[in-house]
Amino acid sequence: MAARLRVGVEIGGTFTDLIVVDDRGRLVKAHKVFSTPGAMASGALQALAESGVSLGDVEIVVHGSTVATNTVLERRGAETALIVTEGFRDVLTIQRQSKDRLFDLTYTKPEPLLPRRRIAEVAERVAGDGRVLRPLSEDDARRAVAALLEDGRVESIAVCLLHAYQNPEHELRLSAVIRALAPGVFVTLSSEVLPEFREYERASTTVISAYVKPVVAQYLETLEVRLREAGFAGTLLVMQSNGGVLPIESAREQAVRMVLSGPAGGVTGAATLAAASGFPDAVTLDMGGTSTDVCLVNGGKAAYTAETKIGGLPLRTPMVDIVTVGAGGGSIAWQDGGGFLRVGPRSAGANPGPACYGRGGTEPTVTDAQAVLGLIRSGAFLGGRFVLDRERSWAALGPLAQAVGLTVPALADGIVKIANAHMARAIELVSTAKGKDPRDYALVAFGGAGPLHAAAMAEELGIRRVLVPPHAGVLSAYGLLMADLRRDYVMTRVAPVSVERKDLLHPFVQMIRRGEQDAASYPADGGRFVVECALDMRYEGQGYELTVPIAAELIPDAGAAEIRQCFEDAHRLRYGYAAPEKGIVIMSYRAAASLRGSGMAPELSGGPAGRSGPGEEAPILVGGRELPARFHARGALPGGARVDGPAVIEDLTTTIWVPPGWRAEVNAQQTIVMEPR
């Protein structure tokens, strides 16, 4: 009987990570290959083929990818059209009428995903309280849809009518008309994608959703078909922006929820493994080739947010609150017009890659700086499968060093420090900017480059503990396997929190029931159904809500006083004051339903036994001086092993830097814990 295997495949901008574990969570294979931009599904299958795993032995494949993200960023989506309320055809063009760069007379707004001629108006109107002011006429609806279909090219239609978040009736009727006239065309309704007020942000999100849906559907279908052809008979799960996974059927219809799913697997894995080591409060730091993703984790749970921008276009969907900075191993250092030394956001990516990869890159990158410093070495990089040429790095840094008046090693030091400062700023955005002190958190470093930078960055921020979990270089793939099935529900219902009301939390009852019904259809053989509820609330007259968690025991009968208390505590924490004389309004209800424990629990015992060796000594350059450092192989360090800095621990998929004054210790969960001595 063949082993029942689980496979996580994560496709990033530079690398594709693959991890294979058995049914008890034990590692079978970890693999890292260059991504194949343009043919992502093939890349995933090739990685699988290379890993030598027979797909017939695999029971679950969990997949994460940037395909939806790149569809928007590279404008490769479906031919999309939009239907809006009469009189509002230019919502996508006017946007919020503002610009992001002051003093720039050449500024232009981000181009919408579809041209004006693909936007049709229908005569109808709903008021802010949901009343129908002007009924939608069937004839007019048909006329509008037919006009959009006329040239036969539209593959996907978005519908965003004013105040549809209060009353979706007209959007639903348009949907029926479209399906009747063009059964093959994808339909996306704003009242389903984002039932929240502010028409531009809702229209933008709806259009993004409509734009990526056919592409994602096609991609997932190709992936599934190819997997099946290769003998895979198990379940295919797909990572969502919210850090949970959904079966492929549900993922297809909710394509927009994949748009920011790229970094979510890593966060899930890092949060799980940090908690397993006794650190439920953590900042995750995922540094790859192109960018670095940072997320705050409290009590083992990632922070969530509701809005971001992609390619300049607003997107509101529940997502893990990740701050991304354009600083990765491939980020290019340069000098700006003012003579300032800068790093990123331009990256050498997978092609040509950093100069030391010898794939044609000539510009100085962060990885080249690390090579100059001697922290990454040829023999160990990607398990020795790949030659690293330090001379090329040195040559790539030369001209820039001359231009800014530094020696090459001093420049290398500076590049690393600036990259660290970018990342430190990202950490501050998820912590200090939200009223959390980063010094109360452990920094969990992973991705190919994260563990190389983490300790220095921790020093910068006063963080006194750095964790490097097992398989840190492919943790974003490993994390996919740990993610639970999860789906988010949101519903806008404006309700003043008034003393007389006792039914304010009743809408949650219906949402929870919906979650239970959906969960019953998931192909999972485990997991406990859990719902986390939250209210978006604000003081009457404010324009932005605070998302305030509502404890299960308050539902459904808590009164206004208890709800007020929850809100004011949150407001005080965020802004430093409360305004007791002001009324409070509930804007939206949120429910996150998951099958807790449906993801895999990592197997953390094992590892080599015995004593660790002394490692090997090699010179490195730090702070402009040459220092002897000890180099250890990660695989040779047993539980309890201690390594004092300056030292480098080389793993198959990542490199860990232990600075002078720091000590690293392998704990019982196979995680390396670094602390200042």
Binding site: L102, H163, R425
Partner: protein, 558 residues
């Protein structure tokens, strides 16, 4: 003392510089999220900055430029009365006085000194447009002839935030003189909360690197920008350049109000002289000195700043302004100035016109360049509710690009109010149309940006309307043969009849009335007949150019 800048390493400089901007950015987010009035939380008519101990901008966020560059003159205004040496931790300065460095009354400034190791480290500052600060009419008073009819004047005043500032005499006095005290207090709280958090961040930056290093970075950031700005100025031929532009109606005598400017470039300096500008007027289109300074700085930075010059107060060091007292660019107290943005746009236009012969490669043809703002207010016997909306227009075309359609103009950067936000908040109105005005952009090799149409239906009787705009009669032609964009208009549709309103207006609207606001387009650049056929076809396909205007673009057209 601070170490000489040559010892400063580029890495620390980069990190400190980024952090200063980040502090301002976070202050902006907190102000928007905490605020109560739609004008701040949706429209974002605000700005914020981190200032050096001498009041120069060293960190900024991307909100409204004319308010951002207002920090300098406001700082000068209050520091003339409160010596910096006498400031103490916990004190903050509040002000709006247009004759002591402020803008128009609605813009309330908050300056918070930050101390480090017992010395003054710098300031965090923010300014927000408060929807109503009293005066003769809600939100704005088109009939005012003195500042006193525009609202309550706050000279620079110190508050001690270690005590309960909400109940101090200043704040109680303010709240007793405004129409929506709860909203005003809520917005002030957001300003205070945002600056308190920013002050803590700046304090942390000082604690981490030490005052000497941070001050050295500030000096270096300012010095570099100054040097780059002087280089940019130095690339223009020396000499004196003149330009002018007019508001079409002074609101009193029915005559145009003309800004005349003489720019003298010599030795890397620019002197901007308003001596020939028309005298101040009795109505609210004056630009007090703070607004003039802020506008000149914004304009010079936009035209000469390029993408490569890091933007901060150092950019303003080469600029000197001569604005004789009694001109419309520096009126005597108590001249009203509520609608100052439009005379400020003419200052922008005049400077651009002056520089056109030597900098045509980097300046656009005239845009609609008229702040168009309306408010609809209702008093229900218990309380006032005031909806204030800012509608932008078309931008001018450039040498190599069409003007942007319905995008903010160069001095302001306020957002629109989402229709759904407006209707949820104000049940006495409905927005029934909001879109681009096809054909409103001036024809040209590159066409001007399109203006906007926004139509409001009033659902109750007794709604007071205030509005101001300009270029309702004429838009200047574009450069090198570009045609002018369409004009704007205010009108009311009542019982099927459409009546035009003045461009500066207080009036009363009743149930069923529709207020129609048109903003104008930007002017084109170059001859229309040279327009690329493909661009023209695309505009036609998308319905942005129709009918006769297509013809004017055809080769052979006159």
């Amino acid at each position: 003392m601070t170490p000489p800048s040559s010892q400063l390493d580029p890495v620390t400089l980069n990190i400190v510089g980024r952090t200063l901007d980040a502090i301002a950015e976070e202050m902006g987010v907190n102000l928007v999220r905490g605020a109560f009035s739609p004008l701040i939380r949706e429209t974002r008519d605000i700005s914020m900055a981190v200032l050096s101990p001498r009041g120069e901008i060293v960190g900024m966020a991307q909100y409204v430029p004319i308010l951002l560059n207002a920090m300098g003159p406001a700082f000068e205004g209050w520091s003339a009365e409160y010596p910096l040496e006498a400031l103490e931790p916990g004190e903050v300065i509040v002000m709006n006085d247009p004759f002591r460095g402020g803008q128009h009354l609605n813009d309330v400034f908050l300056f918070v000194p930050v101390f480090v190791e017992g010395i003054l480290g710098g300031f965090v500052a923010n300014v927000a447009h408060h929807t109503d600060l009293g005066g003769g009419a809600p939100s704005g008073n088109a009939d005012a002839t003195e500042v006193f009819q525009e609202g309550i004047v706050i000279p620079p005043m110190k508050l001690d935030v270690r005590e309960r500032w909400e109940t101090t005499p200043l704040v109680r006095m303010m709240l007793a003189n405004v129409r929506m005290p709860e909203t005003t207090l809520g917005d002030l709280r957001a300003q205070f909360a945002a600056s308190r958090i920013a002050a803590a961040r700046l304090g942390a930056l000082f604690a981490k690197y030490g005052a000497a290093v941070v001050h050295c970075c500030m000096d270096e950031l300012l010095a570099r920008s100054e040097r780059l700005m002087r280089e940019a100025i130095g690339r223009l031929p020396e000499g004196t350049y003149r330009g002018e532009a007019s508001l079409e109606d002074d609101g009193a005598a029915g005559k145009p109000l003309t800004v005349r400017v003489a720019l003298t470039i010599a030795d890397g300096d620019i002197v901007v002289d308003f001596s020939d500008t028309d005298p101040q007027i009795r109505t609210f289109s004056n630009s007090t000195l703070g607004s003039t300074v802020s506008t000149v700085h914004t304009t010079i930075l936009s035209v000469l700043g390029g993408a490569d010059i890091p933007k901060n107060g150092g950019c303003f060091r080469p600029v000197r302004i001569v604005a004789p007292l009694g001109t419309a660019a520096n009126p005597r107290r108590p001249a009203p100035s509520r609608a100052r943005t439009n005379i400020c746009y003419r200052i922008f236009d005049a400077i651009v016109a002056a520089l056109m012969p030597v900098a045509v490669d980097r300046i656009p043809s005239p845009g609609f360049n008229s702040q168009t703002a309306i408010s609809l207010s209702r008093y229900d016997g218990g309380r006032w509710r005031v909806f204030h909306d800012i509608i932008t227009g078309g931008n001018g075309a450039r040498e190599c690009a069409d003007g942007a359609d319905g995008m903010t103009l160069p001095l302001t950067n306020s957002l629109n109010t989402p229709i759904e936000a407006a209707e949820l908040e104000f049940d006495f109105l409905r927005i029934v149309r909001y879109g681009l005005r096809p054909d409103s952009g001036g024809a040209g090799t590159f066409r001007g940006g399109l203006g906007i149409e926004r139509v409001y239906e009033v659902l109750e009787d007794g709604i007071r309307m205030f509005g101001y705009s300009d270029r309702h009669l004429e838009v200047p032609p574009g450069f090198h043969g570009g045609l002018p964009g369409a004009t704007g208009r205010f009108a009311v549709e009542r019982d099927g009849r459409i009546t035009r309103l003045s461009a500066r207006v207080n009036t009363l609207l009743g149930k069923g009335d529709r207020l129609i606001v048109w903003t104008g387009g930007g002017s084109g650049f170059g001859l229309p007949t040279a327009r690329d056929g493909e661009r023209l076809e695309r505009d036609v396909r998308n319905g942005l150019i129709t009918g006769e205007l297509v013809q004017s673009h055809r080769p052979g057209a006159v």
